[in-house]
Amino acid sequence: MKIDRRLIFNFDWMLVLFIALIVCIGVLNLYSAGHGISGEPYLKQIRWVFLGLFVMVLTFAFDYRWIARYAYVVHALAIVLLIAVFAVGAVTKGSQRWINLGGFSMQPSEMVKITLILALAKYFNDHRIEGKYGIRQLVAPFLIVLVPFILVLKQPDLGTALMLMILFGSMVLFVGIRWRALLGLAAVGLLLIPLGWNFLAEYQKERVLTFIDPERDPLGAGYHIIQSIIAIGSGGIFGKGFMRGTQSQLKFLPEQQTDFVFSVFAEEWGFMGVLLVLVLMLSLILWGLKIAQHSRDYLGTLIAFGVTMLVFWGVFINVAMVLGILPVVGIPLPFFSYGGSSMVKMMVAMGLLMNVSMRRYVLQS
């Protein structure tokens, strides 16, 4: 493949800087959060980072317009994997999320977030209209999200399922929706709530109920969130110091390498540290918006916007969750939470962002 010199010239170093800073802090934090756990999770995470970097380069090496051509195929493939999960997937903690692919296991539900963004971006790019979308024009894109949504909900993985809907909602809001259609979709969403409720495992229902009334079961479902709030709050302004968070080091904090990894950071680095991370995340998100805004074409705008939303909602929902302002739905913190699928997914997302960013001045032939 011939490399256009402009691609190198337009390489988005700022984006790389944000990612590098965030990933480094994330791995450092994981070193502390996973301390004393067999296998030293941070070492594995570093491997995932390198795998992610490789996939990221792969993602921005090919023009996103070329990638978008296969968006539906890839999305369909992801859906097939989601179905396959039910057949051959491994059950952990009462839900079936993992699938073994030639030696390593992955979560197709993470992958489907990316393919959904691509598929929706392609759809809205291919079906551009004057003005705003009505309910009829939204049936097809809604089907694009509904199928994986139901499959993921069935696993059951409430967090990811909601994330898919939120991504869909964000993109629809961005491309423009008529008020009537918006109200209609909202109504459908409300109708889906009782339906979705039945999909949930008992422990997930318990979590949601606990969020509504945290004192319901302080030693059971409420325990997680109470311990998380204690961890974060006890960090104070400057934190207890690296590797010195008592809540995390003594393992009072549950799921501290995955969903509650932010609580570890907040406990050890305090308000100042947390502010730094949030500012970095915000910078990355706003930088993503800027890339979307300055894209060469509409497709690029949609893809960049989609992945930016993926980062934004990931950060917001996770942090809001560990802070006790949203129910514990099990969404990992981008770049921070331990897990290969999540890390690779974020790197692919960043690859797409870079893809759009570095091709912003490449003129159409």
Partner: protein, 609 residues
């Protein structure tokens, strides 16, 4: 590079500015929301939540105090503490309980031991965050076995507890007692106890528990989520219980125990000058070391179903007819009441007629004409039948009570009994039948309803030996700190003075000396070379036997009790020894040698007068 032209409109990013602005504000508001919440939690509520995180990780744990040691009057250590090791399982650290139990079983099997708990029992008994004791009080070998394999046994640990080491085991079991885990009743009775404490359950361990138990310390430890100690943050040392110094003499006690070898009975030795108990033995005994960590049901069953009742402290709770040892009291009463003089003589033809009944003297052929001195020396029954008849039951009871019979001596031990001194009134209320004159005749040689404890007997003779003045028997001299600072001192406590004149007391003492030292005396076997021993034999019938029968043909429980009470030296008595040997025959032949051995042990190494 590839591309087809845009379908509808030429691309102009500017037309989406409004939408970007909208999302920009959504994002900004969302992040501000998070920052506000963080501000609230970390800065406003930071202090509170820091405290809560400290509460999470810091636990105050009790550090058990060592119980105080117990020593005899010469400073010989009788009881100390030693560590006891338990194998415990921390349920939260065990992933595969079944596999772990199998591993433990295999490990025990390898050294030909059986792991005491099976999987189901463990499953049933485990409680979250509470270490489960699966094998208590393990040997050093087992300890080493577990520790060398600790890496293969995750979740298995060793817990140390201080327990008692009773150096004198059975010999002092009844006096010192034993410890055991606090019961629900104990917890309600005494607020100082905590669940799981080892407390005194019997004997002095129980009576002096408040002194011996000490004060628990505390330890501030950092624990992880499963409650396992990570490190110690601070520690308040427990203070060991106070040291108890007894009046007992381990040497005399041991001699008394050995002298009763193979027999059931009791020995009490005390110092008549101040009431200090030198020895208090009850046989058969039991090993108090077995009670340390809770006795097994099997062993308990065995102990409690033993017909000889090894748990009973016969010295204070055994109630025996005093037999001829009672003649001292009968004689004292008669002399004081003026019924006889030392010269009053009665003829002993070997039997005594009272109405239709015949009462025999132990000596079939009789003693002939005897006065008081010879009557005591030879223990003539007929003489005392005559005296008793003249004296009557109630005056005798009065004197018996004056000698301390019929009431508890007040020794600081749990479980002391009263014995019984019958009176006319007592019989009427108890049985609704008036007193029969014949019963007084039996009473005058210590048979019938009256019963005494060995301790009462010893104290009554101590009264005579000490010229009338006697004390509440005392077994604890003092309670002190490790540095010897006295916490509580138990001084000799004068109880009463006998209503007997010095003249009469000296007379009686002389007669008691004669029992051991004069020709024809029944207590010759109590003689100790170079010491002036005085005493009185007694043979207490359990049932009436035919003439001249030594009882060996009767079943064990119908044979006579052998008694002997003595003091020495005659002129300035330092020690009184009362011996009761159950169902063993004659006092002179069985009990007197026991007393001799106790006296020998006491006088061993003491300069002769």
């Amino acid at each position: 590079m590839l591309e087809k032209p845009d379908k509808l409109v030429r691309y102009d990013p500017g037309m989406y500015r409004e939408r970007f602005t909208f999302f920009f504000w959504v994002i900004l508001v969302a992040v501000c929301l998070l920052v506000l919440r963080l501000w609230y939690l970390q800065i406003i509520k930071g202090e509170d939540l820091l405290k809560r995180s400290e509460n999470n990780r810091i636990r105050i744990r009790e550090v058990k105090a060592m119980r105080g040691i117990i020593m005899d009057s010469r400073g010989v250590v009788l009881v100390e503490n030693r560590p006891s090791f338990d194998v415990v399982i921390f349920p939260e650290d065990v992933k595969d309980l079944k596999g772990l139990v199998e591993k433990l079983e295999a490990l025990y099997q390898k050294v030909n031991l059986t792991f005491p708990m099976d999987y189901d029992t463990i499953l049933e008994n485990r409680r979250p965050f509470t270490p489960l004791r699966v094998d208590r009080n393990v040997s050093r070998e087992k300890l080493a076995l577990i520790e060398t394999h600790s890496l293969e046994l995750p979740g298995v640990g060793i817990d140390v507890m201080p327990v008692r080491e009773y150096y004198y085991g059975e010999i002092m079991a009844h006096v010192i007692g034993y410890i055991g885990e606090v019961s629900r009743d104990d917890l309600e009775r005494d607020k100082a106890y905590k669940s799981g404490d080892l407390i005194g359950k019997f004997g002095l361990e129980k009576a002096l528990d408040s002194f011996i138990r000490g004060k628990a310390g505390g330890e501030q430890v950092e624990v992880n989520v499963i409650g396992k100690k990570v490190k110690t943050l601070g520690r308040v040392e427990p203070s060991q219980g106070y040291r108890v110094v007894l009046s007992l003499d381990a040497q005399v006690q041991k001699a008394a125990w050995t002298a009763l070898e193979g027999k059931a009975g009791a020995v009490v030795a005390l110092d008549p000058r101040d009431g200090s108990i030198l020895a208090l033995v009850s046989r058969p005994g039991f090993d108090p070391n077995l009670f340390n960590r809770g006795i097994s049901t099997d062993l308990w069953e065995k102990l409690s179903s033993n017909p000889l009742h090894p748990m009973e402290n016969r010295a204070i709770a055994g109630q025996y007819p005093p037999g001829s040892t009672y003649k001292l009291i009968v004689a004292a009463a008669a002399l004081e009441e003026g019924i006889i003089t030392p010269e009053t003589a009665f003829n002993c033809p070997g039997h005594f007629e009272m109405g239709t009944r015949t009462f025999r003297c132990w000596r079939k052929q009789g003693h002939g004409r005897v006065s008081l001195h010879r009557a005591i020396v030879e223990s003539c029954d007929v003489y005392f039948y005559n005296v008793g008849k003249l004296l009557g039951v109630d005056p005798l009871a009065q004197y018996a009570q004056a000698f301390g019979f019929g009431t508890r001596t007040g020794v600081a031990l749990v479980g002391e009994r009263r014995g019984l001194i019958p009176t006319r009134e007592w019989k009427l209320t108890r049985f609704g039948v008036p007193w029969q004159p014949g019963e007084t005749i039996s009473l005058s040689i210590g048979q019938g309803y009256n019963t005494v404890t060995p301790l009462q007997l010893a104290n009554a003779y101590a009264a005579a030996a000490n010229n009338g003045e006697y004390f509440t028997p005392r077994i604890v001299k003092r309670v002190e700190t490790d540095d010897g600072e006295i916490i509580e001192e138990y001084r000799p406590e004068k109880k009463a003075v006998l209503p007997v004149s010095q003249e009469n007391i000296q007379l009686l003492k002389k007669a008691l000396w004669g029992v051991v030292n004069e020709a024809g005396g029944t207590g010759g076997q109590a003689r100790v070379a170079g010491r002036d021993v005085a005493g009185k034999t007694g043979t207490a019938q359990v049932i009436g036997m035919a003439d001249g029968d030594d009882g060996s043909s009767y079943p064990y429980e119908y044979r006579d009790h052998a008694l002997f009470v003595s003091f020495a030296p005659r002129d300035n008595p330092e020690i009184v020894v009362a011996v009761v040997v159950e169902h063993a025959g004659h006092g002179g032949s069985v009990a007197a040698p026991v007393a001799r051995k106790v006296l020998e042990a006491y006088f061993a190494g003491k300069p002769k007068q």
